[in-house]
Every structure is written in structure tokens, then in C-alpha cells.
């Protein structure tokens, strides 16, 4: 086993097990660090750059989510350089992406005092909502900040389904099924694990999408209840989001040892039956 490492963060010393990231150390010190593309269950891709910190002796800022903590590092998390970089990155995102359903991002934006209208008039990633190729979830890539989480979850890190990838490059880089084919022509298995990791609402369950369209989605009026999936015997914990006595969304807690937040198509979307249907055989007794 490698020796633990001791580093200094904003003047405070912290000792971490070897292999920890800087973000791990920041968390240990309760330093609230913004992250958008980071997810503890996925390989860090460190592309959003809002978690950058100043590392003494380094030419540029370091992404705390993926940079390994080293013995003797001196880290600064709240210098003007760090704040400016974070603010600018958030401004850039706000100026190019519809962030209206990205509460975390908006919270950071307030924290760092962004002025996105300064960049107004520039190109955006505006494009039509992909809502027609299935009835389970909706892809609205005008809200996509290209955090790669959905690609990682669909691919190497979770599902190994590989239905989507990043395509194109530069400002035109985007999530793609390959020639933008409909999901039905892709290997998608509709597990919705991409939806589960999406931080901006670019991927959204159909029920939530429809309710937002009609203005009936109301998170304040919702309750969340943890239970176990009614399908196979794996024992996945479901978190039922309930509004007006109806299930409107199903997720799974990331910390649950069985699911780690990931589900299959039945668990995530197959809840309609308890609300019954119109045909006699589907009617609730």
C-alpha cells in the first residue's frame, strides 16, 4: 500500500490516502467545489473545468476532480484566478446552452456572479428537441453542456451499450447516435441511465418533459419515496417521485450498493401499470 499524502489547501493541512484526487481532499475539508462533468461513479473526463483550483508551482489551473493529490501540494481554491476562470466557464455555458433546467449550474452561476448577457448574440447549440423516436425519454441537446456523462454511462463505465458518442469537433461537437439515427436504429436499450446522470435536463423522462411543457411539473409538490423495484430479483432500490398521488419519475440513489443509481428500462420507466389503463385487463381493481 502506498503512503498517504499530506497537502495544504487554503492554508489547511489534510492527509489523504494515496490515489485520492484533489477533489477528495477538498471534500474532506468540506470545501464546496462546483462540478458539472464529475460523477463519482464514472471515469473523470475533466472537461467542464468548473472544478479547477490553483496549484502552487503549476503554470495553469488544475482540475480537482481528476488530478491526483500529491504529497506537499499547495492548493488554493478561492483565489481571483480560480474565481475568474470558474465564472468565465459558467458564462460561456450560459451563453451557448439553455440552462433553464440545470439548477446546479444556475446555483454556481449565482455564486460566481456570472454576466452571461455580455456574450449575448453568439452562437448557441440550439437545435430541435428529439422527442419523436421513443416515448420514454426526450433528448434536448440545446441544453447539453457536453459533460460526456451520458456517453460514459451508456458506454464503458456502466452499460457498455455504446449507443451514443461525441461526434464532430469544436463548437459543433455534440452527442450523436451516429448520423443522428433514431434511437430505434441504435443499440439503445432505454435503460435511461443517461437520463440519470444528465446534469442539465437535456435528457429527461417523457413524463417530466410533458409535464414541464404543460406547466404542471412542480417539484415542490413532489414527495420522494425509496422502495424496491417490482420486477426481477436483483433488488434495485427505486426512488419514486410522486406528484398528486402519481409516480412522475423514477430514479435510484447513487449510494445504493445494488444499483449505484443505475436501473434498467423496466425499473426506470415501467411503473405505469400501477396507475392502471383503460382496457379492462389493465384496469385497477
Amino acid at each position: 500500500m502506498l503512503e498517504p499524502v499530506t497537502l495544504t489547501v487554503d492554508g489547511r493541512q489534510v492527509t489523504m490516502p494515496a490515489g485520492s484526487t484533489i477533489l477528495g481532499a477538498l471534500n474532506a475539508l468540506d470545501i464546496d467545489t462546483p462540478t458539472l462533468c464529475y460523477d463519482p461513479g464514472l471515469t473523470p473526463v475533466n472537461v467542464c473545468r468548473v472544478c479547477v483550483v490553483e496549484l502552487k508551482g503549476a503554470r495553469v489551473l488544475a482540475p480537482s476532480c481528476s488530478r491526483q493529490a500529491e504529497d506537499g501540494m499547495e492548493i488554493f481554491t478561492d483565489t481571483p484566478r480560480v474565481r475568474d476562470a470558474r465564472r468565465m466557464v459558467l458564462e460561456m455555458l450560459q451563453s451557448s446552452v439553455d440552462t433553464s433546467t440545470a439548477p446546479t449550474l444556475l446555483q454556481y452561476a449565482v455564486r460566481y456572479g456570472t454576466q452571461p448577457d455580455r456574450l449575448e448574440g453568439g452562437a448557441t447549440v440550439e437545435q430541435p428537441v428529439r422527442a419523436g423516436d421513443n416515448l420514454l425519454y426526450v433528448r434536448d441537446y440545446s441544453k447539453c453542456i457536453l459533460c460526456y456523462k451520458c456517453v460514459e454511462a451508456c458506454g464503458h463505465d456502466v452499460q457498455k451499450t455504446f449507443a451514443i458518442s461525441v461526434a464532430g469537433r469544436g463548437f459543433d461537437a455534440h452527442i450523436d447516435t451516429g448520423f443522428d439515427v433514431a434511437l430505434g436504429d441504435s443499440p439503445c436499450v432505454y435503460c435511461g441511465n443517461c437520463v440519470a446522470v444528465c446534469p442539465t435536463g437535456a435528457l429527461m423522462g417523457r413524463t417530466e418533459f410533458d409535464m414541464r411543457q404543460t406547466g404542471t411539473w412542480d417539484e415542490k409538490a413532489q414527495t420522494q419515496v425509496d422502495t424496491i423495484c417490482p420486477y426481477c430479483g436483483v433488488g434495485c432500490q427505486l426512488r419514486l417521485h410522486v406528484q398528486d398521488n402519481r409516480i412522475v419519475k423514477v430514479s435510484s440513489p447513487r449510494e445504493h450498493p445494488v444499483t449505484r443509481g443505475f436501473l434498467c428500462v423496466k425499473g426506470r420507466f415501467g411503473y405505469e401499470f400501477i396507475h392502471g389503463g383503460s382496457e379492462r385487463k389493465h384496469r385497477r381493481l
Binding site: 461526434a167 447516435t177 451516429g178 441504435s186
Partner: protein, 191 residues
């Protein structure tokens, strides 16, 4: 069946083929070209992907959706993943382009030596704007702007197919277009 490869995280990763999605239906010409190239890459490894794509592209001039799907299924590289790679590289086309592509350098040194005027001249000669294919069915010629070609000491420069053409003058350009017209036998006012 799977085939263990190494992804960028360094872990063994699974490449699966895609039984649920439609079987690829490339054109016979595309399939023949792909098969010819694939035959040279038996025991394909992922790191041979770029050379293989170059070879296929040299024969077909572009990657159609069906050709890409065919390659994906033959190579065991997921379709979306393969498209992601192809669409990353400027030399690979995902829309029909000319059999021969003229790439006019728009690097700063070429700009200083009249590259912009050269492009306009070409547009006039060919009658089409950048990245618009010419000809019916199998387009034979197209032209486009391209990032610095590294021929700055011979500016302005361009690529004719894969070959660099240096110190391009309007006269040279006219000759190239004329020869191209003869070689490709394209008639009509499109070329």
C-alpha cells in the same frame, strides 16, 4: 462476441456488436471497396482504425451512413463510436464529396498571398461554392477551404486530392480544372 480492447481509461473494455439494430446495407460499390480494404486488416485491432479509414475513404470518397454501419458491424466498433471518430477528422467526409477534392489553404501565409482570391476564382471556374459536390450521381469534384497545409514557403497552396500543389497561380488553377474536366469527363455547365 466481445473482443477485449483497451479504452482510454486503460481498462479492458468490451466492444460489442449490435444485434438489435438493422443490418447494414451499403451500396455494392461501397461494400466491395470496404471488403477489399478489410481483407488487408485481418485480425483488426482498434489502433489500426485510422489507417483503415484512410484506405476505405480513398476508395469511396466519403463515409455514408450505411457504409459506416457496415464497417461498424464488420469491425465490432460501435456505430456511434465509429461515427464519432470519422466526424472528428477533417480529411474524412460524411456527406458526398467529389472523387477529387480541391482543398485551398486558408492559413495566414496563404491568405497573405491571395488565397481568398484563389478560392473565389475556383468557385467561378467550378460554378459551386465550397463543399458543394459537382456532377450527378457520383460527384467527381468538389472544393473546400482547409486549415494551413504547411506549404507556407510556397504560398498560396492547395491539395489536389492528396497531393500538394504549390505556388498556385490563376493560370495553374485553370489548367488543373481543365484537366480535371477532361479526366472525369464531366460535361455540362456544372464543371
Amino acid at each position: 462476441m466481445s473482443d477485449l480492447r483497451v479504452d482510454r481509461g486503460g481498462r479492458a473494455a468490451i466492444q460489442r456488436d449490435q444485434p438489435e439494430v438493422p443490418l447494414a446495407a451499403p451500396t455494392p460499390e461501397e461494400q466491395e471497396a470496404a471488403d477489399r480494404v478489410l481483407a488487408r486488416y485481418s485480425g483488426f485491432r482498434r489502433d489500426q482504425l485510422l489507417p483503415l479509414l484512410h484506405d476505405v475513404h480513398a476508395e469511396t470518397g466519403w463515409f455514408s451512413e450505411e457504409l459506416t454501419r457496415y464497417l461498424s458491424q464488420r469491425l465490432g466498433v460501435p456505430f456511434a463510436d465509429l461515427y464519432g471518430v470519422i466526424s472528428f477528422y477533417a480529411l474524412f467526409k460524411t456527406a458526398p464529396a467529389g472523387r477529387t477534392v480541391l482543398r485551398v489553404c486558408k492559413g495566414v501565409p496563404c491568405y497573405l498571398h491571395g488565397a481568398y482570391e484563389l478560392g473565389l476564382h475556383l468557385q467561378e471556374l467550378l460554378g459551386v461554392g465550397p463543399e458543394e459536390p459537382i456532377g450527378d450521381g457520383a460527384p467527381s469534384y468538389s472544393w473546400e477551404w482547409f486549415a494551413c497545409l504547411g506549404q507556407c514557403d510556397y504560398a498560396p497552396a492547395m491539395l489536389l486530392g492528396e497531393e500538394a500543389v504549390r505556388s498556385v497561380t490563376p493560370e495553374l488553377l485553370e489548367r488543373i480544372v481543365k484537366e480535371g474536366r477532361e479526366t472525369h469527363g464531366v460535361s455540362g455547365n456544372s464543371l
